[in-house]
């Protein structure tokens, strides 16, 4: 069943038009605000509270200016008792050593926009430590659900002097950190509430110029290290609010306005308080579980340039060589990353289903694939109806959807008919899509889940591997550092499927490119005149699985290699030499005098043209087609190739050593 689409009243439509104009006017609401302000006053005067309550949240955005935000706050206060209680009510204590009054107002404003009511306790200016230490303080009588420590760099116990050495700076940092962790512990022991602690913003000025990062006692280096340490030390009930990032993304000189600190103890420029409060609100919303879960995407001119139904697969703009095409790829990458961190994706497009899907299936530059899309709706119904279907199918609330569409008319209709859906404005230029979406912090989480951290660890392992590659003095050092282990075993029922897959898929590291079906391989395995080996490789970064196959025929005096192939994922690891060493042992065990191999050139296997030569084989013959044959005599002083791979025993039931 579809959710019921509310019918808007005429007056709401009129007001909505004004709001649409206002939103379309761009980032700065201040120019359009006077007109909106008249409307809001009219609604207040006529006591049309429901309409006011419906319209007001639309106007509250992270990018609005300070004065407009102040006006909206006062309108919200007038709405007061007339507004329905929010989905949730949350008690928030804000402690800071700077003025937090405006911050508290804007926090309340943003929470209101998300449908959450709040009660806020602010400590007196500059006494936040006492509030926490003193068990009889107002803080503990208030009993907040969320405690915000709205600190700034001025709350650091002091910056190192340039005379301090690394050890002194380190111990200063440990002392500082211990004080904060003690504050967190005391507050948490007594309140058992979530704590949101600001990190510290680097100052914009640099007395050491370019070399702040290098000097052990420089201010920016100290602040950076301190922030990392805070993140690492924070227990799950403490969320570090990344104010340093807010400052950096705004521009450090623009972030702070010293005049307002000296005059009014505002920790940042007043204009930045609106966005700062929005960032804080997004963390509070995550705490109370009011979060967005799904990004609903239009297709034409949202994920690619042009209209697939008109322009066709070759006509849409997506990919390198076209500025718009590159911007759409970048936007898709951003969306894909949201998907990877757990945000659901849905498609809501006015298109013929098959035509829309074809782009996902066939366009080489598509970053998003069909299996990234949890719900794919392409038809000619109106989008408000389709969005209801998407919510139903995914079994999530309409209020957990974010709808992204380049078309202002579609955005407008969804805003009117589905007021619970978040619908961000998009600029005309796709190069601005990421910024337009990201600024809303729709998908904020309070912390990282165990899976997130595990994933992060995986990426860390990858980074370590890259670091190992670059730090190795030479290849041998690198290979040794990988701590590779390999299992060598004959082809068996257990590995048949993967082996056949590799035989029929490998093109580059494949000496003969002979394709065999499973039944043929089973025949070879059952025939005592054939020898088969497969290699599975692990290293300290993970398990690569089965990566190499060798099949050889026993001739009268030699072992003749029919097939030798390897996955390109493990090139240049020395797997070839390792496998050859093993094969030589087998050949000797069978009383043979040589190992022979051949190379059959194809369009794709130039990589292994010199394979046998590099392993010490002697050429026998090369014909006009480029086919070459090679032999390795086992009589002469053959010595095993050096290897950094350690062999691990294979499973007992496969121990046919033939």
């Amino acid at each position: 069943m579809l959710s019921i689409v509310p019918t808007p009243t005429e007056t709401t439509v009129e007001a909505q038009d004004l709001i649409e104009d206002c939103l379309a006017s761009g980032e700065d609401l201040s120019a359009a605000y006077p007109k909106v302000s008249l409307l809001l006053k009219e609604l207040i005067h006529d006591e049309r509270w429901d309409e006011l309550a419906a319209i007001l949240p639309r106007l509250i955005m992270p990018s609005i200016d300070y004065t407009t935000a102040g006006s909206l706050y006062r309108v919200m206060s007038r709405l007061g008792k007339h507004r329905a209680l929010g989905k949730r009510t949350v008690k928030i204590a804000i402690l800071g050593s700077s003025t937090t009054h405006q911050l508290a107002q804007f926090l309340e404003l943003h929470l209101f926009a998300a449908g959450v009511s709040c009660e806020i306790h602010e400590a007196d200016y500059g006494v936040f430590r006492q509030e926490i230490w003193d068990p009889d303080s107002e803080l503990y009588r208030f009993r907040p659900d969320v405690l915000v420590l709205a600190t700034s760099r001025r709350d650091l116990g002091g910056l190192p002097s340039l005379a301090e050495d690394r050890g002194a700076v380190e111990s200063r940092m440990r002392t500082e950190l211990a004080e904060w962790t003690k504050l967190w512990k005391t507050a948490h022991d007594r309140l058992n509430c979530q704590i949101i602690q600001n990190n510290f913003e680097s100052p914009p000025w640099r007395t050491l110029g370019n070399h702040e990062g290098r000097h052990p006692a420089s201010a920016s280096r100290y602040v950076t290290m301190m922030n990392l340490a805070l993140q690492d030390e924070a227990p799950p009930h403490v969320t570090i609010h990344d104010v340093d990032h807010l400052a950096a993304s705004r521009g450090r000189w623009r972030w702070s306005d010293e005049r307002y600190y000296y005059h009014a103890k505002l920790s940042c420029s007043p204009e930045n308080l609106v966005d700062y409060a929005h960032s804080l609100a997004s963390l509070v919303l995550a705490r109370v579980g009011v979060v967005k879960k799904c990004l609903v995407l239009d297709l034409d001119n949202t994920l690619w340039g042009g209209v697939i139904g008109d322009d066709g697969l070759g006509g849409i703009r997506l990919g390198q060589g076209d500025p718009d095409g590159e911007a759409f790829v970048a936007f898709q990458r951003y969306v894909k990353q949201l998907r990877e961190r757990g945000v659901l994706l849905a498609v809501c497009s006015k298109n013929t289903d098959a035509v829309a899907r074809e782009v996902f299936l066939k366009h080489p530059e598509m970053v998003l694939r069909l299996d990234d899309i949890s719900c794919f709706v392409a038809n000619w119904d109106d989008k408000a109806t389709n969005i209801g279907r998407i919510a139903d199918r995914l079994n999530i609330g309409v209020d957990s959807l974010v709808f992204v569409d380049d078309n202002p008319a579609e955005r407008s209709i969804v805003r009117r008919l589905r007021p619970a859906v978040a619908v961000p404005e998009l600029p005309l230029d796709p190069a601005g899509y990421i910024a337009a979406l990201d600024q809303h912090r729709y998908f904020q989480a309070l912390g990282l889940t165990a899976e997130d951290l595990k994933r992060a660890d995986y990426y860390k392992a990858d980074a370590e591997r890259q670091a190992a590659e670059s730090s190795s003095q030479d290849l041998a050092g690198f290979l040794a550092s990988l701590a590779m282990t390999a299992r060598i075993e004959p082809i068996s029922a257990a590995n048949l499927e993967r082996t056949v897959q590799l035989i029929n898929r490998s093109n580059q590291f494949n000496l003969t490119t002979r394709r065999y079906a499973a039944a043929e391989i089973q025949g070879i395995v059952a025939d005592p005149t054939w020898v088969t080996r497969v290699v599975s490789l692990s290293d300290r970064f993970g398990d690569h699985g089965l990566i190499s196959v060798l099949i050889a025929r026993i001739d009268e005096t030699a072992l003749v290699i029919d097939t030798w192939l390897m996955s390109c994922r493990v090139l240049k690891r020395g797997v070839e030499g390792f496998l050859l060493n093993h094969v030589v042992v087998i050949a000797r065990g069978l009383g043979l005098q040589a190992v022979r191999g051949e190379y059959l050139p194809t369009a794709k296997n130039g990589l292994v043209r010199d394979h046998y030569q590099s392993l010490g084989f002697s050429p026998i013959d090369t014909d006009d087609s480029g086919r070459s044959t090679w032999t390795l005599s086992l009589h002469e002083g053959w010595s095993p190739a050096p290897t950094h791979i350690k062999e691990t025993p294979h499973d007992d039931h496969h121990h046919d050593s033939r």
Binding site: Y66, G70, S71, R259, Y260, L266
Partner: protein, 92 residues
């Protein structure tokens, strides 16, 4: 041409928005005591709105002086006028 009178009219507009009160009538002689709710926080709000509207910048000490005893809106208008005539005092 911007004169003290037109600046005063613009200031009145700003005051009405910031204080959310369309009944505010400003004169040269209006002081902080004459406007309901003109406390230190509203003063900041006023200064921010004035800086934005006129694209001027007040020094920290000027911000404080504008609400000091003996100061009135006429003084504020003249300070804005002075800044508008001085390119160094206006924002780019």
């Amino acid at each position: 041409m911007t004169t003290t009178t037109t600046i005063l009219a613009e200031l009145q507009d700003i005051f009405r928005q910031v204080f959310d009160d369309d009944a505010i009538e400003l004169a040269d002689s209006t002081t902080a005591d004459d406007v309901d709710g003109w406390d230190s926080m509203m003063h900041i709000n006023l200064i921010i709105a004035i800086e934005k509207r006129f694209r001027v910048k007040f020094a920290a000490a000027e911000i404080a002086s504008l609400k000091a005893d003996g100061q009135n809106v006429g003084g504020l208008a003249r300070m804005v006028e002075r800044k508008l005539g001085d390119p160094k005092a206006t924002r780019p």
